[in-house]
Symmetry: C2
Amino acid sequence: MRARIHVTLKKSVLDPQGKAVQQALSVLGFREVRDVRVGKYIELELEEGDKLKAEERLREMSERLLANLVIEEYALEMDEEE
Amino acid sequence: MRARIHVTLKKSVLDPQGKAVQQALSVLGFREVRDVRVGKYIELELEEGDKLKAEERLREMSERLLANLVIEEYALEMDEEE
């Protein structure tokens, strides 16, 4: 089964990397960019056919390793079938 | 207009960060993970109402700054309306 996890900074947390990208874009002439936030995008291939079980395991992975829940949040997506 | 860009390594390019994550997950007991690829996820807020024009500008931003097309590829998504 294929899964995708988006890890993003919480709305209330400042994103200096995003600000740096916004400034670099502005210098390049892209002044229409009002805000930029940068997150992580993780694609996983799992040996697990059962979607509910896979979702539970992915939540565990996200909370134990992939996301820092103090400042980040995560969203899961899974493909329908194996 | 809100837009999202996914920047990922091309399939043919090795992903050492993904391998490190896979190994860390394995050490934590997540041995069902067969493969991991890590990419960037960029959310932008644009002062541009026209979708076609916005798409063209986003492609330019991706190709000039956000993605390294030698080793990476990108995908755009845009919200329907302002």
